[in-house]
Amino acid sequence: MQFFGGSSVAEIAPSPAAPPGTATGLAGNNANMLYIFNRSGVCLLYREWHRPLHTLDAQQDQKLMFGLLFSLRSFTAKMDPTSVDKGNLGVPLLPGQGCSFYSFRTNTYKLSIMECPSGIKIILVTHPKTGDMWEPLRYIYNIYVEYVIKNPLYVHGSPIKCELFNTNLDQYVKTLV
């Protein structure tokens, strides 16, 4: 599982040591959108920085995104050529159970996902030529832990409305290559 044994970057405070692959940029945002879901499918956060096309309204869009990821996970676990025992399609999988995908790419965007053992899914949609997004996703998770989880006023399972988190997130996303 790619969550454990990660880099020692940004263990406690996310502000020092941004991971390699980030520019101290005046360059514009690379990321298009960000979603954060918890394990029951509640969209904790949706932020967009560059999205010219809105096909559906926000609620439908988030539900569709969660549904897509759920089915893709099921598909990936079943499709895995290395595992011997594969569960049945449609059975909800625990984080870390079975083979899981970490990104997919279309001709217009690349979607990278990180699922934590607690069931929190962080999804970043960027342009299609982006490289591996594991480090940035990990960094965003650390920002989330720092400014959301440690916020005593935050109610777990509810949409995130923490100013500090939003500003830090925007700042970090601006530096993505």
Partner: protein
């Protein structure tokens, strides 16, 4: 994996391919081309008619798009031009299977030769 499972997976893939187009931030999305997982990569090619070919390979394998185009050519030659093949039915054409295995073998040989 038995036939029923393959059919289920194929229809699941078809729907997800379509849904991924709806979630695109910009116009002109043609669906998932590459899916990267822990133990495998999946490359998908969609023809102009909407028929999708996908191949599961080791993570980081190169030139799968070329292979998919070759397979598409074989499909048009040995399946579509076969007068006994019924559209939308599972493919049971010997020549197609033979040529497919040959194409994969050739690809494997050229991969190791590199």
């Amino acid at each position: 994996m038995d036939t029923n499972d393959s059919l289920r997976l194929a229809s699941l893939w078809h729907s997800m391919h379509a849904i991924s187009q709806q979630l695109s931030p910009t116009l002109g999305c043609n669906g998932i081309e590459l899916l990267q997982a822990d133990t495998f990569d999946l490359h998908c090619f969609q023809s102009l008619t909407g028929t999708k070919f996908f191949v599961v390979c080791e993570p980081g394998t190169q030139h799968m798009e070329g292979l998919l185009k070759v397979i598409y050519e074989l499909y048009t030659d040995y399946v579509l031009k076969n007068p006994f093949y019924e559209m939308e039915m599972p493919i049971r054409c010997e020549l197609f299977d033979m040529n497919l295995s040959q194409a994969i073998q050739k690809d494997r040989v050229s991969l190791f030769g590199r």
